[in-house]
């Protein structure tokens, strides 16, 4: 009996103890904005928002999330009340996010759409509704090692000739370094050969029009085989671009994210368009980054205010340019002296003008793996480009349909 009584007594005693330690924290004030970004942009967003936060008295909290998980986290955590007000990410997230009901539309009164480059606004539209405020644009381009190729090739034939010469001299191992099996980086070459992913109709992407094995590409497919056979493209390239960085490749296709590394490497470089193939433009994918408003934002009003008064300004977009090395999406920011002075960006931007926004429809997710497999199979010599891309095209049609 004594034992039981003791137990009860201690229970009461500890209850008080425990409860004091477990009080529920009060709800955050609504005069704040919570933003999710990846690590790379976090400091920039925080700094560029500081002045506004000070003048309005609104707290801007920037939370770093894993880039790879942010989209799925917003979809699952948002409705549970654990999401942010705003998420910063690329436009090709919009389809999945909007289809899952995770985003709040941006209506025309909220931002002045005309102040943005039109294509960037289009990129953030899904089924005719705008779901984000764009702030910069990125695309791949051709990086030329000037020591191996003093000028940028004007045509693909010229690029191939440069490679043939260097190969004969034994000064290069690869002509054009593109990560093996990565469709994103191969897109300029792929489009130059006449391929495409989805056809474009007046209302957006035509999901039933798959161009992985388009007529034009089918006619050119053997050219892709030839590029691997001649060693212009390599089966052992990867995201490290080892050959280019070791000075053993005259050209590589990559984006602004590698600029820092390129500058550190000390290689004398220039940025140029991937040249057209027999007159057909080599179009890169355009990625637009922007700020999206969560459907389940706790502070929608302050978040909307932030999108209007901070993101949609030239100052903010120029500030983000300075840390992010990407072309601003705001027209007046593009004309800013700091932006104009950067010749790398002029080069990226000039080439980007010919690009296509990456499809933001959820179906795009079904394309990457089969499309990439086709590039891998060709690189490894397991199949001809004709066979590999026909197979990929058939598989994607099945998966999408």
């Amino acid at each position: 009996m004594t034992r039981k009584r003791l137990g009860v007594l201690s229970a009461i005693a500890t209850a008080a103890l425990v409860m004091t330690g477990l009080t529920v924290p009060s709800q955050a004030s609504t005069k704040s904005v919570l933003i999710w970004t990846d690590q790379q942009r976090s400091t920039g967003v925080r700094d560029a928002s500081a002045a506004w936060a000070k003048s309005t008295g609104i707290t801007v909290t920037v939370v770093v999330k894993d880039f790879g998980k942010m989209r799925d986290d917003l979809i699952t955590a948002g409705p549970k009340g654990l999401g942010p007000d705003i998420v910063v990410g690329p436009h090709d997230w919009v389809g999945q996010l909007a289809a899952s009901g995770a985003l709040q539309p941006i209506t025309s009164a909220q931002i002045n759409r005309a102040a943005f480059v039109e294509s960037t606004i289009k990129a953030f539209q899904y089924k005719g509704t705008l779901y984000g405020v764009p702030y910069n644009v990125e695309n791949v381009a051709l990086f030329v090692n000037k020591k191996l190729s003093p000028t940028a090739p004007a045509t693909f034939a010229e690029l191939e000739a440069t490679w043939a010469k260097l190969k004969a001299a034994g000064t290069a191992n690869v002509g054009l370094e593109i990560p093996k099996g990565d469709p994103y980086h191969h897109t300029p070459v792929f489009t130059a050969l006449g391929g495409y992913v989805f056809g474009q109709g007046p209302t957006g992407w035509r999901v039933n029009d798959i161009g992985l094995y388009s007529k034009e590409f089918a006619a050119n497919a053997s050219k892709l085989d030839g590029m691997f056979a001649s060693g212009l493209l390599s089966k052992s390239s990867n995201y490290d671009f080892v050959q280019w960085f070791n000075g053993k490749a005259p050209f590589m296709v990559t984006g602004p994210w590698n600029l820092e590394k390129v500058q550190k490497s000390g290689i004398d470089y220039m940025i140029a368009p991937v040249p057209a193939y027999a007159g057909k433009t080599a179009q890169p994918w355009i990625g637009v980054n922007g700020f999206m408003l969560s459907k389940f934002a706790k502070n929608k009003l302050t978040a909307q205010k932030y999108l209007r008064e901070v993101v949609s300004t030239s100052d903010f977009q120029v500030a983000m340019f300075k840390i992010g090395d990407r072309m601003p999406a705001f027209k007046s920011a593009q004309a800013d002296p700091a932006v104009v002075a950067s010749k790398d960006f002029a080069a990226f931007g000039a080439y980007g003008a010919s690009g296509i926004p990456m499809p933001n429809i959820p179906q795009m997710d079904k394309v990457w793996s089969d499309w990439g497999n086709a590039f891998t199979a060709v690189a490894d010599g397991k199949a001809t480009a004709a066979a590999a891309f026909k197979l990929a095209s058939d598989n994607v049609k099945k998966a999408v349909g």
Partner: protein, 301 residues
């Protein structure tokens, strides 16, 4: 002490041929295995000193050698490496000890008592952890989101919640390892102690546990390593709050490589290599228990 060891100890010096026969080849095997084990690490180390972080460059001495990657992880307020390090070590140690405690208790019951549902428990433990873990994180997220409404202190961002959830896996392979080990301890030892009037707790703490030290040490180490490297669950629980000071090494370092195309393998490699140090230190420390096993205990018991 058993006799073989004593005999060897008594011999003052070995002849060279005997040394070769008894120990030499062991050194050879060890050195060969270590070369195999460390070989990939050499390339990781070289990538960590490569300013460009080219893991696949496969050059022993990188072209652009420097300490940039280490600087990136050491002075970066967005990526407080040492705080991650401390979090990882503290959480892993706490978890390892808890796992060991729960596992040892359960294994003692499973090894020494015949109770109803024992075989079912054993089989359940074996089978249930075969379930692919990749998706259970969705379930745990939903569970935590619900707890978060009521008891936020025991939910996202709480190391305690993380440790409790990890403890749910204590009855897994570890329990089987321990039970297998307990089974090899002769029951006569605890039978005779029982006759002498020892309680079940005394038998457990004073006899079984000391005898099982090698296995306990192994379990602690396995759990420690497992927690140090755990990414999926930790990132869900500690990553939701967004405070970089909440993260562990595995989750924090991941941020360097989770960009879409721009993955910074240099700092990642630097951080990951340094993270192996506590594991090695812990094992160095635990080894005295690994070898102090059954025989040493048996003479006492």
């Amino acid at each position: 002490m058993t006799t073989i060891e004593q005999v060897i100890v008594k011999e003052k010096r070995m002849t060279t041929s005997r040394w070769l026969r008894v120990l030499g080849w062991r050194h050879l095997v060890a050195i060969f295995s270590i070369s195999f084990a460390l070989f990939p690490l050499v390339w990781m180390a070289s990538a960590s000193f490569d300013q460009l972080g080219l893991v696949s460059a496969q050059k022993l001495i990188p072209d652009n050698i420097g300490l940039d990657n280490y600087r990136k992880i050491f002075n970066n307020p967005e990526a407080p490496y040492f705080i991650w390090y401390r979090n990882a070590v503290v959480i892993s140690l706490a978890n390892a000890l808890l796992q060991m405690a729960i596992g040892a208790c359960a294994s003692y019951a499973l090894s020494r008592f015949r109770f109803q549902g024992r075989k079912v428990t054993l089989l359940t433990i074996l089978v249930v952890q075969m379930f692919p873990q990749l998706l259970s994180v969705t379930a745990l997220f939903v569970l935590l989101a619900e707890i978060n409404q009521s008891i936020p202190t025991l939910s996202f961002g709480s190391p305690l919640a993380l440790i409790i959830i990890f403890a749910g896996g204590a009855l897994g392979v570890n329990a089987w390892i321990l039970k297998g080990f307990f089974d090899t301890i002769p029951t006569e030892i605890d039978e005779s102690a029982k006759v002498d009037g020892a309680s079940h707790a005394q038998i457990f703490f004073k006899i079984i546990l000391p005898l099982a030290l090698p296995a306990l040490a192994v379990i602690v180490l396995l759990s420690f390593i497992g927690t140090m490297n755990e990414f999926v669950l930790t990132s869900v629980i500690m990553g939701v709050t967004g405070d970089p000071n909440d993260l562990t090494l595995a989750v924090g370092l991941q941020r360097f490589i989770d960009g879409q195309y721009d993955q910074q393998w240099g700092p990642f490699a630097a951080g990951a290599l340094l993270a192996a140090i506590p594991v090695m230190l812990l094992f160095l420390f635990l080894q005295k228990y690994v070898v102090s096993g059954l025989t040493a205990g048996a003479t006492k018991g």
